[in-house]
Amino acid sequence: MEIKPASAGTLESGDILVRIAPATTDGLSIDLESSVAAQFGGQIRHLITETLEGLGVEKADVTAVDKGALDCTIRARVTAAAVRATGKDVWRD
């Protein structure tokens, strides 16, 4: 699947900014910066991976800056970024 650079989300408290770019390594590379990294870093990484794989994105560089977003927000932002990056609109297509 072809990936173009794309992003979704903001740096507001309770949100997450997700950037997706073409892969420079094999597979998914996730660079996560989070205000709750110590307690939730593992969960957030897992959720990002799971969401992208569910959308068929298996190779990409992901940079995420999290400001304490809940799972529903993270899923929505990752999905939106993936839709923009792949041009495949999961809501419409």
Binding site: S13, G14, V36, Q39, F40, Q43, G68, L70
Partner: protein
């Protein structure tokens, strides 16, 4: 005619005080985020070559980040305070100091100073006006008033019990500066400087006037608890904390006071413009003020004889039977975390970093007839109702009601309160359900990467140790 003066320079005042390495110096925090005295004095002490000092402040905040360098240089080797915020708190949480910081409540600090457990050698007390003999106030009646902070309540135990007292002012007024807060007889030296504080910042930091819809919902629920608690009757007394929601509660209580024709005998604690307004409307008889939380309160304490300044001891000491908390009916407080045993943490963030202050939390929760904690279930992804608090500040035995947007939990030790609130149609839930609800939304947090070094000791107001704070790694 004046035949005497205590006017001198800061350096000379320090020399005259007899301060030596290893001694204890003290400060108040009435200028909050605008304080200039602590940094000014410690800079001077460093320049004069002092080492190993114990800094005993009533509280410290973001503005005191320059202390980090003085700690690294060995000028300050021990700190006692009610709270820490900002970069200083961050560094201390990561293990900056060899000796742990000692945290006390405001009442606990007052008691410890009175008993000699916290013995102060030299107090450096910022004042908004002072005459050359040392009569000092947190406001000024002169035309040159520069910095006003209102009540000097947290400075009064220091003034009374310190071996040596230096008043630092930016408004030297003609003798006699009466009515005064600190009488000249307690003061050894008076130092005039350009500025002791930025009054525009006294309401910065902890205090927010919220427009957040969730805060407003919480405030409305908390007001319903107050109104239906059984304590809301003519002559009641109340204190509110500084969180956005607990401030907004006052507005809703006011409406009900007017509707029912009920008046309060007094409001206690940190006094805000909200409380001053109710007092001026005749809804609150007296204001008992240990700390003025904004300019309106600071002006009111100057102009209104029924707005009384009190020391931290008269406010909240557990060891003095006359302290005002013993007469307090209800207190509304905020929290960083509450656990399923109703224990509260207001000092250490859920990331393990110190970011708050004990303040009067322990004191008012313990001695009021009804203590009400108001906090959201979650702040972003951070849970506020948890299985176990990160750090124990106020024991659950003194916490009666917890108000969240997902329901109100009542301590099982107070079944009569739960009955009254249920009868009024409020949603009462088990606190375990609240904690479970939080977990269902955010998942179970991984344990914090605490290290082995003790960076803080949390004292209970009676002088016993409640908890230890360990350094955070990573």
């Amino acid at each position: 005619m004046m035949r005497n003066t205590k006017l001198t320079t800061l350096e000379e005042a320090i020399r005259k005080s007899g301060l030596r390495d290893g001694m204890t110096i003290s400060f108040h925090h009435h200028f909050r985020g605008g304080d200039k005295v602590v940094n000014m004095v410690v800079d001077k002490l460093a320049e004069m070559g002092f080492k190993g000092l114990h800094l005993a402040a009533s509280s410290l905040s973001d503005v005191h980040a320059p202390l980090i360098e003085h700690i690294k240089a060995g000028v300050i080797t021990k700190i006692s305070t009610s709270g820490l915020r900002g970069e200083l708190a961050n560094e201390i949480s990561r293990g900056l100091m060899e000796e742990p910081v000692v945290f006390r409540s405001h009442g606990g600090r007052g008691s410890a100073i009175a008993s000699g457990e916290l013995a102060i050698d030299v107090a450096f007390l910022g004042a908004s006006s002072c005459d050359e003999l040392g009569n000092a106030c947190g406001y000024s009646r002169s035309e040159n008033a520069k910095s006003i902070c209102g009540s000097l309540g947290y400075a009064l135990p220091d003034a009374q019990y310190a071996q040596h007292v230096i008043v630092i002012t930016d408004d030297l007024v003609p003798y006699p500066n009466v009515p005064m807060s600190i009488p000249a007889s307690l003061v050894e030296s008076v130092v005039v400087v350009d500025s002791v504080g930025d009054s525009s910042k006294i309401s910065a930091g902890a205090i927010r006037d919220s427009k957040n819809p969730r805060d407003i919902l919480l405030a409305k629920s908390a007001a319903k608890v107050v109104i239906n608690s059984g304590y809301f009757e003519d002559g009641f007394s109340i204190q509110t904390g500084t969180g956005g929601a607990s401030l907004a509660v006052v507005k809703y209580i006011r409406e009900e006071m007017l509707a029912r024709g009920i008046k309060a005998s007094f409001a206690l604690g940190g006094i805000t413009a909200h409380m001053v307004k109710l007092h001026e409307e005749g809804l609150i008889g007296r204001l008992i003020d240990v700390q003025s939380f904004d300019k309106v309160a600071a002006e009111s304490i100057k102009n209104d004889p029924f707005h009384q300044e009190v020391s931290a001891i008269d406010y909240a000491s557990g060891e003095h039977k006359g302290s005002a908390v013993h007469a307090l009916d209800m207190v509304i407080l905020s929290a960083l975390e509450v656990d399923t045993d109703f224990n509260v943490n207001v000092l250490v963030g859920s990331d393990g970093i110190i970011r708050g202050a004990i303040g009067g939390h322990q004191d008012t929760a313990a001695d009021s007839a009804l203590s009400i904690i108001v906090c959201p279930l979650l702040r972003g992804r951070i849970p506020c109702v948890v299985p176990k608090v990160t750090t124990l500040i106020t024991p659950g035995a003194s916490v009666d009601v917890v108000v969240t947007e997902y329901g109100i939990a009542v301590n099982p030790a107070r079944p009569e309160i739960a009955e009254r609130l249920k009868a009024a149609g409020l949603k009462i839930v088990d606190i375990h359900e609240l904690a479970a609800k939080a977990t269902s939304i955010i998942g179970t947090p991984d344990p914090l990467p605490f290290g082995e070094k003790i960076v803080g000791v949390v004292m209970n107001r009676d002088g016993s140790v409640l908890d230890y704070i360990r350094n955070i790694e990573g």
